[in-house]
């Protein structure tokens, strides 16, 4: 037996290597350097460097770690570059809005940045993985640091408890997930996504069961009904920066892997998963939006809102079985979701004067008088989450609904439009509290330079996507056609 090394091109995984390497470097640095600021800036620099390297790979299709007679383990194409950019931007956004927060809540420690970098590399790997095994490992690499980060807030019992709940459900869902991929391996004898595609026959019962298990696992990760029950608790209990990071990063990464696995490896089963996903999307939209109506805690409300947004994204994924333009609309929606959600959490963080305090709807009374700029920003983000033009949220929903109609999912588009109208109630209630009430709050608003920068970027992004969506959609669509396999699948 002789060893034949695989063909390796490290440049392709450079964004991953930069983030993982920076995490390792921070760990070593921990021995020598005790100043927290250093870690912050190093992390920011590493993520920015990874972003630059990532964008440089736009327009090419690469594969690396190719074993003899096999498919590449990791691929980089426009699809993954686009998603990685969103993920890295979410990392930068999280850092910007967390600058002051971590300090005043005494959560700042080097390990926080380390875990964030590791989790971020797991997220990026989800979209780049070309093998079911790597999808599983990436899923774990993204989740395990998040479980720990969610449990970091030491002084509060509910943080620990929500971290525990998050962990147990997460471990459970990855068990189901890996059972699903084991069944698909059993049906095809292969684990590489293109190999599964090549061998899989429609109607294989093992693969059918495997797809169902896989779907359950993904639904847990992206927080879709009926596997959403962890989301509100965890969003409420985790430190707000972790919530912000998780709500964008984990969701986008989950959708990245969902799209790649289902459209590249499992188009043979598309009849089955399209219907199931459409049903899940409808349930998610209805339950997420309706339950959000009753929330008085902003973080909890945003938790249900993120469930609802998973529903809108799922519409696009369900439509992706019909035509590939739908994938483009999902990507555009994610971009809008990134800017809007990051911005909204930025405002929440600015008002959270102590860990877990200042996050009730009541606390937003009279904000317009206290801090007109912050409330104006919040106004834009809330309008965008509702989907009012001219904001990014509207553009995202417009393209998603269009692709649903083109895929003959009329009923789903109608449900989505109706639930959007319902969602207006709870988003605009925040605006109402800010502008229509007089508040007696005297706690300071923490808006440092970093947070202001983050909010400004989020604001510009949201409005830019709102006013000029066509160019962005073009870009998102290019991200899909660059990916030939995705097209072959769609």
């Amino acid at each position: 037996m002789d060893f034949q090394p695989p063909i390796i091109n490290l440049l392709i995984v450079a964004p991953l290597l930069i983030t993982m390497g920076a995490g390792l470097f921070l760990m070593l640095l921990n021995i020598f350097c005790k100043r927290d600021g250093v870690y912050y800036w190093l992390t920011l620099a590493a993520i920015a460097a990874a972003l630059v390297q990532n964008v440089a790979m736009w327009g090419h299709e690469y594969g690396t770690f190719i074993a003899r007679g096999s498919y590449p383990m990791v691929v980089s194409d426009n699809f993954s570059v686009f998603l990685n950019s969103i993920l890295l931007l979410s990392g930068i956004g999280t850092l910007l809005i967390s600058r002051n927060y971590l300090h005043r809540t005494k959560l700042e420690r080097p390990e926080f940045y380390m875990l964030m970098l590791f989790s971020l590399s797991g997220m990026m790997m989800m979209g780049m993985a070309n093998d079911l095994i790597l999808v599983f490992v990436a899923l774990e690499l993204l989740s395990i640091p998040l479980y720990i980060m969610a449990g970091l807030a030491v002084s509060r019992d509910d943080s620990k408890e929500s971290a525990m709940k998050y962990f147990l459900l997460g471990a459970f869902s990855s068990g189901i997930f890996v059972y699903g991929i084991a069944l698909i391996y059993g049906a095809t004898g292969a684990t590489a996504l293109p190999a599964v595609y090549a061998v899989l026959e429609a109607g294989s019962p093992l693969a059918m069961a495997g797809t169902a298990f896989l779907m359950v696992g993904f639904a847990f990760k992206i927080g879709a009904v009926p596997f959403h029950m962890w989301t509100p608790d965890v969003y409420e209990g985790a430190p707000t920066v972790v919530t912000a990071f998780m709500s964008v990063g984990a969701k986008v990464a989950g959708f990245a892997a969902l799209l790649r696995v289902f459209t590249v490896a499992l188009p043979a089963m598309s009849d089955a998963w399209m219907g199931a996903l459409a049903l899940i999307a409808a349930l998610t939209l209805i339950i997420g939006n309706v339950v959000a109506l009753m929330q008085t805690n902003i973080k909890r409300m945003l938790g249900y809102s993120s469930i609802a947004h998973a529903g809108y994204l799922l519409i696009g994924v369900a439509a992706a079985g019909q035509h590939s333009e739908a994938v483009g609309s999902v990507l555009l929606y994610m971009l809008a979701y990134l800017f809007t959600t990051m911005g909204a959490f930025g405002v929440v963080i600015a008002l959270e004067h102590k860990l877990g305090e200042g996050i009730m709807l009541e606390d937003y009374k009279g904000l317009a008088k206290r801090n007109p700029w912050l409330s104006a920003a919040m106004l834009v983000f809330m309008l965008s989450l509702t989907g009012v033009p001219p904001t990014g949220g509207f553009s995202g929903k417009f393209y998603i609904f269009r692709s649903a109609v083109e895929a003959n999912l009329w009923w789903l588009a109608i449900i989505a439009i109706m639930t959007s109208v319902v969602s207006g109630y709870y988003y605009l209630r925040v605006v109402f509290y800010m502008y229509m009430f007089d508040g007696d709050r005297t706690e300071p608003v923490y808006a440092g330079t970093a947070l202001k920068t983050g909010l400004l970027i989020a604001l510009v992004g949201t409005l830019w996507l709102g006013f000029f969506p066509a160019g962005w959609f073009e870009l998102a669509y290019k991200a899909v056609i660059g990916t030939t396999q995705l097209l072959a699948g769609g």
Partner: protein, 169 residues
């Protein structure tokens, strides 16, 4: 004939110990049942011509992981568990659903049975073959698992250290 007898015996032990794990009211008993279950599964691996994995199963699962469980149970004095058949009627519904799932999988397996070609000649389950496979095809996930274990380790440390800090304040 002898083979199927061994299989049946092992399966009964494994499923029985899993059920024992499920219904025990004492966490230590639960953990011990699980150890028995893991060891039985290791015997299955031997039957399936995967001796290396059987050894790993015994050392890592039955050894390391379960010892960790026992240690934590003892440390916290958390032996007492609540009974299984508690206050939720939905549990029965759920159990029925699982039974249904089992039947479905049964049927699937029987359908699969027809087209499974068994080629038992070319088995290569030596650690060398496994190592080659890991480093030829799966270097990248292998390295990533390293990072994963590292982050788990860091997490364990800060979760317990932060606790001490919390008490001092």
């Amino acid at each position: 004939m002898g083979n199927s007898f061994v299989f049946m015996l092992l399966a009964v032990i494994a499923v029985g110990s899993a059920i024992g794990m499920l219904v025990s009211r004492d966490a230590v008993h639960s953990a011990l049942f699980l150890v028995l279950n893991f060891i039985t599964i290791a015997v299955f691996y031997v039957v399936l011509n995967a001796p290396f994995l059987a050894m790993v199963q015994v050392t890592v699962y039955a050894g390391a992981i379960m010892v960790l469980f026992m240690f934590v149970i003892m440390l916290l004095g958390a032996e007492r568990l609540r009974g299984m058949w508690g206050d939720r009627p939905s549990e029965l519904v759920f159990a029925a659903f699982l039974g249904f799932l089992l039947v479905v999988t049964f049927l699937i397996a029987l359908v699969m049975e027809g087209k499974t070609a068994v080629s038992a000649n070319m088995i290569d389950s030596s650690p060398v073959a496994l190592g080659l496979r890991l480093f030829e095809g799966y270097v990248f996930p292998f390295e990533v698992v390293g990072i994963l274990l590292l982050s788990a380790m860091v997490g364990v440390v800060i979760l317990t250290i932060s606790n001490k800090r919390g008490k001092n304040v």
